[in-house]
Amino acid sequence: MEKTRRLSRFLDPKLLAALSSMEIRARTVVEGMVEGLHKSPFKGFNVEFSEYRQYVPGDPLKDIDWKVYARTDKFYIKEHEEETNLSGYLVMDTSGSMSYKGQGSMSKIDYASTLAASLAYLMLKQQDSVGLVTFANGLRKMIRPRTGMAHLKAVCNELEATAASETTNIGASLDLVGQSMKKRGIFILFSDLMDNAEVIIQKLRQLRTRRHEIVLFHVLDRDEISFPFDDTTIFHDLEDESEIVTDAFQLRSEYLQRVRQLMNTFKSALRKSGIDYLIADTSMPLEANLRSFFSRRQAVSAR
């Protein structure tokens, strides 16, 4: 444990000990290299034909079945079943807004990084491969998925090295992430979603269409959820440095209504698309968030 603690400030030994009995379980059929653990008919190329599916933007052009195109004038991708172990992509929003630290002990990015490191540790521990993608206005860093605990250091180092800055462009970043992912797997996205909600939902749906499993941690500080301000306040935007002077007391009701509306929008829209949407309240213990994640995954897996 001490070895692990030294590995990264985002790996809390107590937290990891509490989670040690848990496993990352895909909801339905997930790819994985360790047989028996992940029974998943992955649709690839080097095994038996599985099915045709319609082309979606982001699919490699080389996968298009041109014969079918010649017959039907439509783009189809020919998929094959393939036995594989789980590839996990930890997608971390590192925009300026993630640097916010309210009255809790951690900033939003620290909280999200701790979540990500913990999940990476668990996934690597069960022989799954884990990759890391950081983005803000665009992709900042991508670490391809690999197996083995030695890869955990690379992930943790990158998490620690990344500072929150720049504005957010989630849509463009997800596009790039989707294109660079060769294998389907599980996307675990950590973001405060400070971008156009419609675009975010649309891009996530596109990823989901390509059979990626998607889990979204909506990282929010307690201040963002409860807006505990009373006075006339100059609010300073951590992303674009803009400022606005307003009477927070008068604004509160309207703001909270909009926050609730936004969360409900994500919740309903993403769950319809089979995307797990979880609120990561930074004032809540990390363990609670991870437990709720796992319990949810287990419940879905049992179905």
Binding site: M194, E239, S253
Partner: protein, 712 residues
């Protein structure tokens, strides 16, 4: 608006506080990092407009709150009158005008309207404060201010109002309102008001507002209307009473015309009775359409010569004073007229130049039941005639008259006799001018000097016609109507050129402009000169149909000229008359209530007595008696003006500038309270306090509206 404590108004400067807070005061904002302003900006856009409106409303509420606090402390008074806009310490100058015209004499709900009005006046005067000045006036015809100057003596003013009697006169708004305005005009340091307490009859107000532009009355003077009497009661009135005969002779039936007006919206019946000298003679049922006038004619016979009292009455109603009307008529014995014709020449047939005059005055040659009893005498016979027994004497184509007869004619004329002189071929102008004018001095007989003869009656080459007939004179007024004949169509072939005396009236000219008929008042009598003959020798007029009415009208006009203009006297109008000087030193006036008063008289050099009296307030029959009261010299009747019987009320909105002060017994505020409110305005400090309380609650509620919930 006035303020009892105006210094509190300085508190209005406090309005600056919320304005300052609104415009300049901002809490020092706290700087705070926030992940993203995305949602905050969206919320701010939505909230900003509402917040701006809310802040403005809050500022307005706070300003109004401060104003209300200041107003409440300043004890404001508001009112529609100019008085209420002055300081409450300013003394008042008021004129109280009480309508005591006849229309106020009716009753409303069993109470005399006039008594109600008098009560209102007393209540208004009761509201006089120390330092206030007032006067009272009467609205009748002619109205007046009882006290020409304003006085502080409230008791005297109230006493004078208590003693004011109801007048039987009409209404003249201008005669009291205008002096009131004139009295108040210079008193700019006072709160000025004229209170008019009236029944608001349209007949009295409409002429006033038509003639005077009340909108131009000085704005600083309040005109306050105090209406009394409620809505107009139905009223039926006798508005006219007259005889339709030009001259009334004893024993002859003459028509008496009674005009009855129905001022109500429905047909009404009434029994009309006519009394002569207090004795009821005739009764008749009459029906009058709604809002119309009807004439009734009743035949009456007079037995007594001299002045007679005729009265007509209908059944009494809400307005009793116009249900009776009076008329004074003089009844004559048949008028004796003396025609003095030229003596007949020896051996010649009897002179018949009087024929056309005699037959004109008595066409049927009746000895009884004729207006005129005509006697003809020759010049010689006339010497012995008792002239005073004749109503008129006609001199027809006389050459010379005996000096004694001339003297007696002069005395007769000056004493009230009437003389008509016809010209002819015997007339010598020089003798006439000398003996009938020059030698008599001031008692001359002829109204014009006589010169030469014009025209030729023998050849009849030129026929002159009369023009410029004086249609206003009774002798010719009868011909003014269409179809009544035209004396101008008669031809005069020869006449005397005359020059009328300065005081003579020219009744007709010849077609080339020379005088044709001249009349002059001489003493109490009248003298008429006709410049042509009385027979057909110089003119064909005696055979024309207009000859007879001309002579009748001329004689009646001369005989009745000294009578008073009966039927035209209104209550309060002065009466002037000239009567015989038998008992000249002092005369008595017997009034309708049988009281008697002395009449001041003036005796002229000719022995004529001019009397003048203003004791005509009562309606009814008045007699002018000799000093001892034994003999009736003359009489007249005083009647209310017909327009006073029209009781329709004018709409108050049609009277500009007047502020109504209405009061209904037992309801709402008393008259005193209303007068006080008009004078001082309404004390709105209580209302301001109430509004303040309400506003404070609203402000408190509004300021704490849960636009956002505070963090628990």
């Amino acid at each position: 608006m006035t303020f009892a404590s105006p210094w509190f108004l300085l508190g209005l400067l406090g309005i600056a506080v919320p304005i300052y807070l609104h415009l300049y005061y901002r809490k020092t904002p706290v700087r705070k990092d926030f992940p993203s302003l995305r949602l905050i900006k969206l919320s701010v856009e939505f909230v900003a407009r509402r917040r701006k409106m809310r802040n403005l409303l809050l500022m307005a509420l706070r300003i109004i709150t401060i104003i209300l606090v200041v107003m409440a402390l300043s004890k404001p008074f508001i009112g529609q009158s100019a008085s209420a806009r002055n300081s409450s310490d300013t003394p008042a100058a008021i004129v109280v005008l009480l309508d005591n015209s006849m229309s106020m004499g009716c009753t409303h709900q069993g109470i005399s309207v006039f008594n109600t009005a008098r009560g209102r006046a007393l209540e208004i005067l009761d509201q006089m404060q120390p330092g206030d000045r007032a006067t009272v006036g009467l609205i009748n015809d002619p109205g007046r201010l009882i006290f020409p100057q304003l006085t502080w003596d409230k008791d005297t003013l109230k006493k004078s109002i208590s003693n004011v009697p109801l007048s039987m006169a009409g209404t003249s708004m201008a005669s009291s309102i205008l002096p009131g305005l004139k009295l108040l005009a210079p008193l700019k340091a006072y709160r000025r008001a004229i209170y008019v307490i009236t029944d608001m009859t349209e007949s009295s107000w409409q002429p006033f507002i038509d003639k005077y532009d009340l909108a131009k009355v000085e704005p600083g003077i309040d005109l306050i209307m105090v209406p009394v009497g409620g809505s107009a009661p139905d009223n039926m009135a006798i508005t006219g009473l007259e005889t339709e005969a030009p001259i009334i002779m004893t024993g002859r039936q003459i028509p008496v015309k009674i005009t009855i007006a129905n001022h109500s919206p429905r047909i009404r019946r009434s029994r009309v009775s006519v009394s002569i000298n207090g004795e009821r003679k005739i009764e008749e049922e009459i029906e009058v359409e709604a809002n119309s006038v009807k004439d009734a004619r009743i035949m009456a016979t007079f037995a007594k010569t001299g002045m007679n009292h005729v009265s007509a009455a209908i059944q009494s109603d809400a307005m009793p004073f116009d249900d009776q009307r009076h008329l004074a008529v003089r009844v004559f014995e048949p008028c004796r007229v003396l025609l003095i014709k030229p003596d007949s020449m020896p051996g010649q047939p009897e002179n018949r130049e009087d024929t056309f005059v005699r037959f004109a005055l008595n066409p049927l040659n009746r000895s009884k039941d004729n207006n005129f009893a005509v006697e003809t005498r020759s010049t010689a016979e006339a010497k012995t005639a008792e002239l005073k027994n004749f109503a008129a004497v006609c001199l027809i184509n006389q050459r010379h008259l005996d000096a004694e007869l001339i003297k007696r004619l002069s005395e007769y004329l000056m004493g009230g006799g009437n003389l008509i002189t016809f010209m002819g071929n015997r007339v010598e102008p020089d003798w006439y001018n000398k003996h009938l004018i020059d030698d008599l001095g001031g008692s001359y007989l002829l109204p014009a000097r006589i010169y030469k003869r014009v025209g030729n009656a023998v050849s009849r080459a030129v026929g002159y016609q009369m023009t410029d007939l004086d249609a206003g004179h009774p002798a010719f007024s009868i011909f003014a109507r269409d179809g009544a004949g035209d004396p101008g169509r008669a031809q005069i072939f020869e006449f005397f050129q005359v020059r009328p005396n300065p005081t003579a009236l020219l009744l007709a000219r010849m077609s080339h402009g020379l005088p044709g008929i001249v009349e002059e008042k001489r003493g109490r009598g009248r003298s008429m000169l006709i410049t042509f003959s009385a027979d057909t020798s110089w003119t064909n007029w005696p055979v024309r149909p207009t000859w007879l009415p001309f002579l009748h009208q001329s004689l009646i006009a001369m005989i009745t000229a000294n009578e008073l203009a009966i039927g035209t006297i209104r209550p309060g109008m002065p009466v002037s008359a000239t009567i015989t000087g038998e008992d000249a030193r002092e005369l008595m006036l017997k009034m309708p209530d049988n009281n008697r008063s002395k009449i001041s008289v003036q005796t002229s050099a000719q022995g004529l007595v001019h009397l003048n009296t203003r004791d005509t307030e009562q309606t009814g029959y008045y007699e002018i008696l000799t000093e001892g009261g034994n003999r009736v010299l003359s009489a007249f009747a005083v009647n209310p003006p017909a327009e006073e019987s029209r009781l329709e009320r004018i709409n108050l909105r049609r009277i500009p500038r007047f502020i109504p002060l209405t009061h209904e017994a037992g309801r709402g505020q008393s008259v005193k309270e209303k007068v006080s409110l008009l004078r001082d305005g309404y004390d709105v400090s209580g209302a301001a306090m109430l509004a303040l309380l309400l506003l404070a609650v609203i402000e408190s509620w509004f300021a704490n509206l849960p636009s956002a919930r505070r963090v628990e």
